[in-house]
Symmetry: C2
DNA sequence: TGCAATGTTGGCAATATAACCAAATACCCA
DNA sequence: TGGGTATTTGGTTATATTGCCAACATTGCA
């Protein structure tokens, strides 16, 4: 395969990989509503602060969010609202899959 | 966190994870243009047939593609064209990130 | 029927992810 | 300045992912 194309797919997959974790999806959706600091997100996620901090750094590294300090706190905000459409698309995929599985059972006809 | 919400994020991340691999992105884009059998995709990808077959089964499992046999061959087709928009969005993210890095060097002003 | 071609599955080794704890850093205020 | 709060980073362990090879299954054809 062409080297340039390969690099493109690798770059794409790096960003998509950043989105492919339940906690990071939650963070992205929350940040689509408002800016939050790490401690607020930690509360929402319900995990160790260090864990949340690492998730945030992965999203930031992927270019999806950015941060700014306010006092001792670090606030994060979403840079790319288009990822929300993406989530909507994936949600449709899941819905269709579920419907097909229901059909397969023969219990209902959609 | 709410159990139902958690399940939703896990379902989303399962599908996104299926997309988060260079080879699988290539396959999705190719399948957006036409149906292909495993041997054709193997050629395009340039990896072992078994490797490609496993990638295809991951995409199929995620509900993104489906297959049908024609003789000894298995053809795959894309079920969800909306993932292409998604790829476009991610491409923008990458572009913006690259521009910012250029700016940071001070070499150019965008 | 026997063989060649097409795919899938199991196994193994290498690598990547993820979560927690502990330690280090940065910042604010008394 | 000293302590407390907020965050990041390093270390460790457990788990998941990936790629190839080998073995097996299916199909078509001579």
């Amino acid at each position: 395969m062409d080297i340039k194309l390969k690099a493109r797919y690798e770059a794409l997959s790096r960003v998509i990989k950043a989105l492919s974790h339940p906690t990071r999806l939650l963070i992205v959706e929350e940040l689509s509503r408002s800016r939050y600091c790490v401690c607020e997100l930690t509360e929402m996620v319900g995990a160790d602060t260090s864990t949340v901090s690492k998730h945030l750094s992965i999203l930031k590294n992927a270019g999806l969010i950015k941060d700014h300090k306010v006092g001792a706190s670090v606030y994060y905000e979403l840079l790319t609202p288009c990822v929300l459409d993406f989530i909507g698309c994936i949600e449709d995929v899941i819905k269709e899959t579920a419907e097909k599985q229901l059909e397969a059972t023969g219990i209902v006809t959609v």
